[in-house]
Structure formats: structure tokens, C-alpha cells
Symmetry: C2
Subunit: 223 residues, 2 copies
């Protein structure tokens, strides 16, 4: 059985020392998978193209992006086309054979699209429909294993592929991995030594990742 | 040895019946690889973002895009992020397990960057330097084989990965495949029956693709 890879989640905010993270990843002997966002650049490009970003807040206080069809297209352009390509290129320049994928490639992140999301605005609760938002329910770890076992390093980003065939934003990290919580980097040059092990999932979230009995050596199976 | 895949090259112009091509590809039992461009959409997005597209003509009459660093970033956003994602999504919706890649992923298309390109403007010849343009010299067919042998269908696009670590535009199709010339689709619903077998390479081009003695069954090896 393959050794479980290190999974690193790199947030999408501004002012991250991405160079330091990529440099350390490129030097790692252990297999790894990088999962990244790109909110700051998405907001920038979206605004330049005249599609002003919008956010809503859930009753539990969770803020998420309003994701209409144009926003999904922008996520594909910015996350996958711009940021993911940039990361792959910088890793390649350091001798690391990275392969960029989004969640729709090879059905990597299979999601259930939400019929509606609960929103609070000015104290009033309502349902927001027709949003391209979902929840990842299955991960094609076979594809990741295939790449890792052949020396490639997967660099993964949104969107996910929903059950209705659409591409969807997922406001919480995909349930992968177990085996352990992803390592979220939000600060600078001291990765990986000082990277906080945490997720961006709110403490109250009911959707915990599945766990295995031997987290150091097993992968979740694809549902 | 694997059966050679069908390789389909889909031009990047406007007014292509992409739906028809993707529908026929999704229905094919034989393995295939789709290579696509996206010039029309690149021009549109580039213009919207204030980076007006520019073109130059070579002494032999070949027109190519001036590719500065910002244009490379736009190619990544539009070709890979927008068009490639859209194709993958539409193929997935038809039950075809497509995986989108650009030439930098897994060092798929390794290129030599051109030091300069010869240009003619108003009858005057000169050299254009600092252009992110190259020529593909090697293809990582191992990665394509790996995906195809595991049931995935690769959807490939620019840029390529140059020897200096940069991403580059390639103005002529990569030397892949042999075994046979790519099938270029530029018309509507009758693919594959009526697809013209041709390349977009000018007739006078000195750089013919390598050929094998048994084009139906062999792949080029990765240099």
C-alpha cells in the first residue's frame, strides 16, 4: 500500500509567502498533494471584468461567496487557469513534476449541489437558490494515487463536479484527506515547521471528514 | 503495446460547433486525446482586461500572436482555465471521464524557447525579442499513456513548458502525434465522418512531425 501523502492546504488570501511554501514542497522527499484557493485574485479579476463579487452570511455566521454561473466561470479562469498554472510552473522550475487539476478533472471531487443556502441579511433569514455551491461527497483517490505512484505531484483547486453535471464552488474543504486533517498555511517562510495544523472548517460544522483506523498509512476509498 | 489513440485538434476560432465534436468524442469507444486552442476567446478576454492582442507576420507570411508575459498569463486563464474546463465539464456531463491538462502539467509539452522571432512590418524586417514563444521538442507520452490506460481522456491545451522554465506559446502544433497527422475540426455536426485530415501547419513549414513505420500502433517515445 502506498505511503499516505502529506496534504497541504494553501489558503486563497493575499499576502501569503507562496514562494516559501512551494520551495519547501519541492524539496520534500515524501509524496504530497497541494490544495489551494485563490479568493483574493478572484475578487480582483472579477471586479476588473465587471462582475462584482458578492458574499452572504449563514445563520451560523459562516460567510460564503455568492456563486452564480459567471462566478463559476471566473473561478475556473482564476483558480485553475491563473493560480494553479502559476503554482505548477514555479514547482516545475524547481524540478518538481507537478500536475494541476481541478475537481472536475477525472471526477476528482464529486459533490452534491445544494438546492438552496440559508442566508441572513439585515436580520432577515431567507433561502438563496440557483447558487452553484455544493458539498464534496467523494474523492477520486485512485487518480491521485496513480499520479503520485508515478512521480507526479498533484496541485488541486476548485471547482468540484456536482451530481447534476455542473461545476460548483465548495465553501468548506473537501472531505479529503482523512487520514489526517490538512495542514493549512496562512503565514510565511517557516513552512512546514511552524505550519498550524488546522482546517478552515468552523468548529460547529457537522460534516467531519471520515477517518480511518490507521491514519498514517491508509487512504480513504473512493465512494 | 497500447492501441494508438485518435488525436483530434480543435481550432480556436469562433463559430465552431464544439458541442458536436464533444458529443462524438464522448461516444467513441477508441481512446482519444483532444488538443484545443482558444484564440477567439483569448482576444475577447484580453481586450476586456485592457491588454489589446497584437499580431506579427513572419517573412514567410505566417501570422502569430505577440506573446509577452501578460499574454502568457492570459493564455493560461483563458485556454486552460476557461475553455479547457468548459470542455472537460461538457465531456463529463456525457459520461466521459476527461482530464484537462496544459503543456506545463507533468512536463507534457517540453519546448525550446525562441531567442527571437523574425518579423516583417511595413516591408521592414526585424527581430522581435523577449517573446514567450517556443517550439515543442518533446512530449511526455508516458503521462498520456498512463491516463488513457486507466480510462481517462486527456484534453490538452497551451502553454508549453520551455527549457528556461517559462511557459510559452507555440504557434505551430506540437510534434505529436505521430503516428498520424492530427485531425483538425473546423466545421460542424458531421465529425468525425467529414472532418478534414489536415494540420494548421503552413505547407512550406520545414518542421514536419516525426513519423513511425507503423502509424496505427505505435507512439512516439518521449525524448
Amino acid at each position: 500500500m502506498s505511503v499516505a501523502p502529506l496534504v497541504v492546504k494553501l489558503g486563497g488570501g493575499a499576502n501569503l509567502d507562496v514562494d516559501a511554501v512551494l520551495r519547501d514542497l519541492a524539496a520534500l522527499q515524501r509524496p504530497w498533494v497541494l490544495v489551494h484557493g485563490g479568493n483574493a485574485e478572484l475578487n480582483e479579476v472579477s471586479t476588473k471584468l465587471g462582475h462584482q463579487p458578492r458574499f452572504v452570511t449563514s445563520p451560523s455566521g459562516y460567510t460564503s461567496r455568492v456563486t452564480d454561473l459567471e462566478t463559476i466561470r471566473l473561478i475556473q479562469m482564476v483558480y485553475r487557469g491563473r493560480i494553479n498554472s502559476d503554482f505548477v510552473l514555479r514547482l516545475q522550475a524547481q524540478g518538481c513534476n507537478a500536475v494541476g487539476l481541478s475537481g472536475i478533472d477525472g471526477r476528482l471531487w464529486q459533490a452534491e449541489r445544494k438546492e438552496a443556502i440559508r442566508v441572513v441579511e439585515n436580520g432577515r433569514k431567507f433561502l438563496l437558490r440557483d447558487d452553484y455551491t455544493g458539498k464534496v461527497v467523494s474523492v477520486n483517490t485512485d487518480l491521485l494515487r496513480l499520479l503520485l505512484d508515478n512521480g507526479y505531484r498533484p496541485v488541486l483547486t476548485l471547482p468540484a463536479l456536482a451530481n447534476d453535471g455542473s461545476a460548483v464552488n465548495v465553501s468548506r474543504p473537501p472531505p479529503w484527506p482523512p487520514p489526517s486533517e490538512p495542514t493549512t498555511c496562512s503565514s510565511s517562510a517557516t513552512f512546514p515547521a511552524s505550519c498550524a495544523t488546522s482546517t478552515t472548517r468552523p468548529a460547529s460544522s457537522p460534516a467531519s471528514p471520515r477517518r480511518t483506523s490507521n491514519p498514517a498509512r491508509t487512504w480513504p476509498s473512493t465512494a
